[in-house]
């Protein structure tokens, strides 16, 4: 290790210590708090199975919210991504669209949820809207990046025929970027199910609503049922999307991703 590296590491450690002092992050308090965790865990072990049907139903509602949010969000994101791609538009088009998308992404979904609860009231609809916004910001970014990564050769060759912008999008941009889209949507859905699970914390529907309420009233055993259902569901969705990706997104000999028919 060079002296320069030592200095850098020293500075980083010093910064962590200073920041910890500033935010009251105290390892001793953490150690002292461990017995509390043990109590919570112990109570959680008193799982109340009769709440399972309610938990499953709440989870089903959560999945539906995530599903609507993902589909509607993607539908809005796709045209925006076409406008945000540098290789398809002039600066005057892509710059404002990218700025808008960046602004949308600065809000975590929970903040969108608070905003929509204020707008449309408590409940699942506010949660759906929050997921839509979050999905628009992210899918559009992922998608304009994959549009910009399209090989310029077919783009140039087809443009040189003098086709319209719409035709270029239909015959080059969509087919050449669509192989990434399926895996992006799966990833987004997966992620949205997790996000939707906590939106209930701010009253925007979903299974998180139950979890936060039981925790508020120290009913850890009931909360545990709902948390377990979330855990199992998320693992299951993860597993399914890996399966789907393996089945439909094969690697061609060229080492590039292509969507199987």
């Amino acid at each position: 290790m060079t002296p320069k590296n030592n200095i850098v590491i020293g500075i980083i450690v010093a910064l962590v210590v200073v920041a910890s002092y500033n935010v009251d992050a105290n390892p001793i308090e953490f150690a002292e708090g461990l017995p509390n965790l043990a109590i919570v865990l112990e109570e959680m072990l008193l799982v109340e199975p009769k709440y399972i049907p309610t938990a499953l139903w709440a989870m089903f509602e959560t999945i539906q919210m995530a599903f609507i949010g993902t589909v509607v969000g993607t539908a809005i994101a796709l045209p925006l991504s076409m406008l945000a791609a540098r290789n398809l538009n002039s600066k005057y088009v892509y710059a404002p669209v990218r700025a808008l998308l960046a602004a949308i992404r600065t809000f975590p979904s929970i903040l969108w949820a608070i905003l929509f609860v204020i707008m449309v009231g408590l409940g699942t609809f506010a949660g759906v809207l929050a997921i839509v916004m979050y999905t628009v910001g992210f899918v559009a970014k992922l998608q304009y990046e994959s549009i910009e990564a399209i090989d310029s050769d077919p783009m140039d060759a087809v443009s040189s025929i003098g086709v319209s912008k719409w035709q270029l999008i239909r015959y080059v941009v969509i087919p050449e970027s669509a192989s990434h889209l399926l895996s992006q949507i799966l990833y987004m859905f997966d992620y949205n199910v997790r996000q939707t699970s906590i939106l209930g914390l701010v009253g925007a529907g979903g299974i998180g609503f139950y979890i936060i309420n039981y925790i508020k009233f120290f009913e850890y055993g009931k909360a545990a049922v709902f948390m377990l259902v979330v855990l199992v569901t998320v693992l299951f969705i993860d597993w399914v999307s890996v399966k789907i990706r393996d089945k439909y997104i094969i690697k061609s000999q060229h080492g590039m991703e292509v969507t199987a028919k």
């Binding site: 060759a157 087809v158 025929i161 086709v163 719409w166 015959y171 087919p175 060229h254 292509v258």
Partner: protein, 276 residues
């Protein structure tokens, strides 16, 4: 091997009424320092089978890109059918519909079928609905089928382009260009990487289409032998300069650019390029 014979043949005079491509003192560069092409003068008659040869990096691809408006010269004038090539020029944009351009990389869309790739050549003739929903009109499908059989791809229409061999990909790119009903065909080293037999099959294909459609074909080659075999004019590019332009009439090769070239020099060039 051809006999090379020096003559001052007046029939190769630069004055003609039917010039489809004209370049006048054209200079071009990618950066502000080096010129990729310098002082290029070209004049190509309608219906010519024109070849451009030269070593890699000599500026051949750049020359083609100037002809279809993908690049704008730093100075000098270019006229394609008396119109200045420029993608922002409405009149030229219309002409692009019938300029077939096959880049060195072919530019196929990998994830769509052979038929769809070929239909791209017909897109300027389709309306919005037809092209958005891939509702190709009967007559265009018929035309595509005809070209597909011409290039020998019958039965492979529904194959995705990424599944094709190198030779098949070239046939698709040629078919796409023919689908444009082109008046000019620009082809950039499309047979350079192929074996001897396949390369000639593809060259014959283009030569036939060229004769039948009175097409002006401008083909870049690495190999002088191939150029002499198929072209009626050959320009040799070296380090951004056109150093030689010869006419080929049967077995006779005529130098009409510089009267003072001698046979030895042409042979030297020939050897240089065929060795590369």
């Amino acid at each position: 091997m051809k006999q090379i014979q020096m003559t001052q043949n007046p029939s190769f005079s630069l004055i003609s009424t039917n010039k489809i491509i004209q370049m006048n003192n054209v200079w071009t560069s990618y950066d502000s320092k080096n010129f990729a092409l310098e002082e290029i003068n070209l004049s190509i008659d309608r219906g010519t089978n024109y070849a451009i040869v030269g070593q890699s990096g000599s500026g051949k691809s750049t020359l083609l890109k100037l002809m279809n408006g993908m690049m704008i010269p730093s100075s000098g004038t270019i006229k394609i059918d008396y119109v200045t090539p420029n993608m922002d020029n409405k009149k030229f944009k219309k002409m692009m519909h019938t300029i077939g351009y096959i880049p060195q990389s072919l530019g196929l869309v990998k994830n769509i079928t052979v038929l769809e790739n070929i239909m791209i050549g017909a897109l300027p003739r389709l309306n919005k609905i037809q092209s958005m929903f891939k509702q190709f009109p009967e007559n265009e499908i018929k035309e595509a089928k005809r070209i597909i059989s011409l290039v020998g791809l019958t039965g492979k229409e529904e194959r995705k382009a990424y599944m094709l061999s190198g030779g098949e990909k070239r046939r698709v790119a040629i078919a796409r260009a023919l689908m444009q009903k082109p008046t000019i065909l620009l082809a950039d080293e499309i047979v350079s990487e192929l074996d001897h037999v396949t390369a000639r099959e593809i060259m014959n294909l283009i030569a036939e289409a060229q004769k039948r459609m009175n097409l002006t074909a401008i083909m870049v080659h690495h190999d002088m032998q191939l150029a002499l075999e198929y072209a009626n004019r050959v320009a040799v590019i070296k380090e951004g300069h056109k150093i030689l332009e010869i006419g080929v009439e049967g077995d006779t090769i005529v130098d009409f650019q510089t009267g003072d070239m001698n046979t030895d020099e042409i042979m030297e060039m020939y050897d240089d390029d065929s060795k590369k």
